[in-house]
Amino acid sequence: MIEIKNVSKWYADFHVLDDCSTFVGKGDVVVICGPSGSGKSTLIKCVNGLEPFQKGEITVDGTSVGQKGVNLNALRSRIGMVFQNFELFPHMTVLQNIALGQTKVLGRTEPEAHDRSMLLLDRVGLVDQADKHPAQLSGGQQQRVAIARALAMDPIAMLFDEPTSALDPEMINEVLDVMVELAKEGMTMMVVTHEMGFARKVADKVIFMDEGRIVEEANTKEFFEKPRSERAQEFLSKILSH
């Protein structure tokens, strides 16, 4: 479904991504972890073309992302993305946030978009918040709206960039629960997170990144039992001891 082949990216002289390759099959859940600044966000933003890259190839469902002439907007509408800081549109209500892409990109009518949005709000448990503005919601609620907004586009895959890092601890689970449910329904997911409980529960594969490289890639059980690289061992013991 998502294939990343020998991708390299530079910011001027700085090598952010160094020859990264991996594969995410349909329905797979892949967790990406690693120290801050290792290039995790950059890598998943390359997958939906939010960041350009200079070398290598990424294909999503057969479409090559980096190639000239590819309709990136159409591709992006089919890949959901959830950001660390939610990035809800503050001037719109919750309902309008979820409906915007449906009407402007997918061409659904207002009533169609409304019905679909309410269905998704029900799913993330926020029907009663439909007419509020993002600023009136808690962080956990905002992130669930952001997930609903992404799902409203009927995506073939979902990208999550540290979806719980900006949340107060007591709100982390309400967001993770929604993600676990999605994973169990067979959504293809790439998730940058340090929530190792989540990784253990639903990930098929864990990728460990350091200094722009994919240092380790293993199925979940192996990764937690005996990580091969020293860096990953170190990293794991640090975050698991928390």
Binding site: A74, F83, N85, F89, A135
Partner: protein, 219 residues
């Protein structure tokens, strides 16, 4: 000495003054509307990643911001008819001058407003498949204008005062109307103090509106 003043002159001149105020408001409203529209376009060109476009827009802005308004008004009044070969009339020439001049100032305000909206917002918009133009229209500009309302209003108050410059091309706005009566009836003090009060009240109302909006939009 106040006995010598004849305040009744204001009452007699009222229709004439109201007529002048009509011209002032008409110019102000059209110039604000045109200035903001053209200014928005300039701002979008100015932040374009395509260098030649942003350079042209930037040069335009810097050029008009280094010119006194009265010079711009003269130009459009005297020079443009020479170039196009026919007179365009006082009203249209000052209108064009105002719109082109004010657009340079509005452009800078609007550009700052656009840049006050974070990059993450554009990303979130494009991530759901919106094009750059759609993301600007539905996500960035509505937020930018909200942040800018107080500054835009302040600039518009200045613009309202600047319209009094149109006397140089013989248009009869509020100030010119008062001036005509004042010299005709030799009632300078009465008329000048009256219009000062009117300008003061209108601008005060404007500033109060600015303050209210500022309070409303800064959370």
């Amino acid at each position: 000495m106040f006995k010598d003043f004849d305040w009744a002159v204001i009452g007699r001149a009222l229709p004439f003054l109201v007529d002048g105020m009509g011209m002032t408001l008409q110019l102000t409203v059209i110039a604000i509307f045109g200035g903001i529209c053209f200014g928005t376009l300039l701002a979008l060109l100015r932040i374009s990643p395509f260098r030649p476009i942003s350079f042209v827009a930037g040069s335009y802005v810097n050029f008009f911001r280094s010119m006194p308004l009265i010079l711009v008004i003269f130009w459009f009044y005297f020079l443009v008819p020479q170039i196009i070969g026919r007179p365009i009339g006082g009203f249209y020439s000052v209108l064009i001058a105002f719109v082109m001049f004010e657009a340079a100032y509005y452009c800078e305000i609007i550009r700052a407003g656009i840049q006050s909206v974070t990059r993450g917002q554009i990303m979130a918009g494009t991530a759901i498949g919106l094009s750059y133009i759609q993301a600007m229209r539905y996500i960035v500009l509505p937020q930018a204008f909200r942040n800018m309302i107080p500054v835009l209003l302040t600039q518009s108050i200045i613009m309202f005062q600047d319209t009094s410059l149109v006397y140089v091309v013989g248009l009869r706005d509020f100030l010119t109307s008062a001036d005509l009566i004042a010299t005709r009836d030799n009632r300078l003090v009465e008329l000048y103090s009256t219009i000062a009060v009117v300008y003061f009240i209108l601008c005060l109302l404007g500033s109060l509106a600015v303050r209210r909006l500022q309070r409303k939009y800064t959370i």
